[in-house]
């Protein structure tokens, strides 16, 4: 009896201690994304929906002792707007983790604030490798993809398949240059050659002049080092001017939403690399179907990655019974990620979540049997090869 009381008291004390570690017994997840601008189709409201799904699933399955709430805001793709919002959330609204953060400038600004306030940043939509290199810190996780992993996968596969001579159509800002550089290195390493590049203003609408240059360059492959509407218009106009199919296009950063908007007739045969595709297996189809019911669109890799990152975070909070930033980060890094989104996933010292990526080829219209059935999976790029090697990282947290 006495023993039992002591055990009970100890258990109560332990729970009490765990409770005390969780500030006000509510975990608040902030979703800071582009709700109205150029990236609102790849991220946007879909990432808010994905976060709500993650929270609902977590509560239903894990039955935590704490509450989970979500706040969301539009950062308008502006670093300063995002930084102010993140600061307000951390300081006044007791937000514990800020997530999504599409657009590199936004991600870089907010990961700094997170470090300053000792809170966690989970990045899904932003692309730059700077997040886990020069600008890395110990409170940030870069979840879904980066310029290296998408450029690497596509450029390597296309070069190895015989596309040796490349010409780049590059958006004239940091992101475009970074994509071009990452891809060029891979092309040269695999015996290919870069004949030239043309830098187009961002955003552009008419790409015919640039395509004409690419056409006369004699390259076999035209690498599109741009994104969103620029990529879409480049592809559309390449077909119009008879550039394709004589020369082939390789989209270095493309999303399933881009293919959806262009249609298979224009995009068929293109290679691209993504971190997720809804039609990979039973698990991805089941989750994506639930997502589709709410959003009326299939998820992009950014939206699926958002669910995965928030779920991983919430499980870590439950496991350690508190929201202390360093302890949660340690728990997240120590736990492998294996869910419908990520296979063989793990978070490295530089904050990069590495997982299998997929080299995809866009189907011919006749091969597509259901709506949103757009890709053939050409190869699975194993987690270990998909991302920049840790040894090459410029992150100060990586012990050389």
């Amino acid at each position: 009896m006495k023993l039992k009381t002591i055990a009970l008291a100890a258990a109560l004390a332990a729970t009490g201690a765990a409770q005390a570690q969780l500030s006000d017994n509510i975990v608040r997840v902030g979703v800071l994304t582009d709700l109205s601008g150029a990236y609102s189709d790849i991220a946007g409201k879909g990432t808010v929906v994905a976060t709500q799904m993650a929270i609902a699933d977590f509560i239903a399955k894990e039955k935590p002792a704490f509450k989970v709430e979500m706040v969301s805001a539009d950062h308008q793709n502006k670093g300063d707007v995002a930084a102010n919002k993140a600061r307000e959330w951390f300081e006044r609204e007791k937000v514990d983790v800020v997530s999504e953060l599409v657009t590199t400038s936004v991600a870089l600004a907010v990961q700094k604030i997170a470090k300053e306030k000792n809170k966690i940043a989970l990045i899904s939509g932003a692309a730059s490798t700077r997040i886990t290199n020069e600008d890395c810190n110990d409170v940030t996780v870069h979840w879904t993809y980066d310029t290296y992993s998408v450029a690497n996968g596509t450029a390597k596969a296309v070069t190895k398949a015989g596309g040796k001579k490349w010409f780049f159509l590059t958006a004239d800002y940091a992101f475009g240059h970074s994509l071009e550089k990452d891809a060029s290195e891979v092309i040269k390493a695999n015996g290919g050659e870069v004949l030239g590049a043309v830098r187009h203003p961002f955003p552009g609408s008419d790409f015919s002049s640039f395509l004409l240059k690419a056409q006369s360059s004699g390259a076999q492959i035209i690498g599109l080092a741009n994104a969103g509407a620029d990529t879409i218009n480049s592809i559309k106009q390449a077909a119009e001017f008879g550039v394709t199919p004589k020369q082939q296009l390789a989209g270095l950063l493309m999303f399933v939403s881009d293919v959806h908007s262009l249609g298979l007739k224009t995009t068929q045969g293109m290679y691209l690399t993504e971190g997720f595709y809804w039609n990979l297996n039973e698990e991805t189809r089941a989750w994506s179907k639930r997502f589709f019911e709410q959003q009326k669109r299939m998820p992009t890799m950014v939206q699926a990655g958002q669910y995965s990152s928030v779920m991983h975070y919430l499980k870590a909070v439950k496991a350690i019974g508190g929201d202390d930033t360093q302890k949660v980060m340690a728990q997240m890094k120590k736990t492998p990620v294996n869910d419908f989104f990520a296979k063989n996933g793990s978070i490295r010292a530089d904050g990069r979540m590495v997982h299998d990526m997929y080299l995809l080829q866009v189907k011919k219209p006749a091969e597509s049997t259901t709506p949103w059935d757009y890709y053939n999976v050409v190869a699975t790029i194993p987690a270990a090869d998909a991302f920049q090697p840790l040894l090459a990282s410029k992150c100060a947290l990586v012990k050389q």
Partner: protein, 294 residues
């Protein structure tokens, strides 16, 4: 053969492409110039109405099976009616106030239109196929010209010419111009001036929608396609001379060509070259190249 260190073949190709882009500038800046010249309204919703025109063609095709040629006639008429509605219900209350109020109202309308389309269609937009008769292209020797692009130049020139003729060379045009200079006097002669003003605004808006339908097969139809273009088109109007009909047509085509050449020589500057020209023109000829010096 080389000119300015550039192969002649590439140069001709880029000149032609410049002319094609210039055609869009010409039709859009013409609509703006008509509205400004005759109504003194700085129509900031012009880009949005161009976008509505492109979406009109797209939705007409998807839901009503309306083909391109029908859309090219019906969509500008429908959007023109929308313009008339805007003029009758909102703009007409602002004529006695400063220009700035018209600008703010039309800017607000543009933001609303973009927001509504973004809500329903997302930002990636959809593709509109070129009409079957104009698919494919011809090899000109120096470049491959898609037939549709050739049609764009032709259609723009015809519409621009007809508009110029209507306003500058017919008695209807003369009455219109008189009505903007001395509305009371023209009204006293028994002419319904408010009706003429309304129809003019509708006409200017219809030109924007016409450009939108023309652009639909060339550009991805998306809610922000207008806002990307409108600033450039305003610069074209300023360079040509605010309100000058012929000025806006010639400047539109000319600046398209200049932009095309910049893309050959130094592509990075192609987005700013028009604005550099605008500054130079404003410094030396503040009323624009074809404007009447005050």
């Amino acid at each position: 053969m080389e000119l300015l260190g550039i192969p002649a073949k590439a140069l001709f190709g880029q000149l032609l492409l410049g002319l094609i882009n210039g055609s869009f500038y010409a039709v859009l800046s013409l609509g703006l110039a008509v509205i400004f010249g005759l109504l003194n309204i700085i129509n900031f919703s012009h880009g949005a109405l161009y976008m509505v025109g492109a979406f009109g063609a797209l939705l007409g095709l998807n839901y009503l099976g309306m083909n391109y040629w029908v859309a090219l006639v019906l969509v500008p008429l429908a959007v023109g009616l929308l313009g008339i509605l805007i003029e009758r219900t909102m703009l007409k209350h602002l004529y006695k106030l400063d220009h700035l109020y018209g600008l703010l109202l039309t800017f607000g309308l543009a933001l609303i239109a973009e927001g509504v389309f973004r809500y329903y269609f997302g930002v990636s937009g959809e593709s509109y196929p070129a009409p079957e008769a104009l698919q494919g292209g011809v090899d000109l020797g120096f470049m491959y010209l898609p037939l549709y692009r050739g049609w764009v130049v032709l259609a723009s020139l015809v519409v621009c010419g007809a508009t110029w003729y209507l306003i500058e060379r017919t008695s209807l045009g003369a009455t219109l111009r008189a009505a903007t200079e001395r509305p009371e006097l023209v009204q006293a002669l028994g002419i319904n001036v408010p009706l003429m003003v309304t129809l003019t605004y509708g006409g200017g808006v219809a030109l924007a929608a016409f450009a939108g339908v023309l652009a639909a097969p060339v550009l991805q139809v998306n809610p922000v396609m207008g806002s990307n273009l409108i600033i450039v088109v305003f610069a074209v109007v300023v360079i040509g001379g605010m309100g000058s009909i012929a000025g806006s047509i010639v400047t539109g085509l000319g600046l398209g060509v200049v932009e095309g050449l910049t893309k050959v020589v130094y592509p990075e500057a192609s987005a700013v070259v028009i604005f550099v020209i605008m500054i130079v023109v404003l410094l030396f000829r503040p009323a624009g190249l074809f404007g009447k010096q005050a």
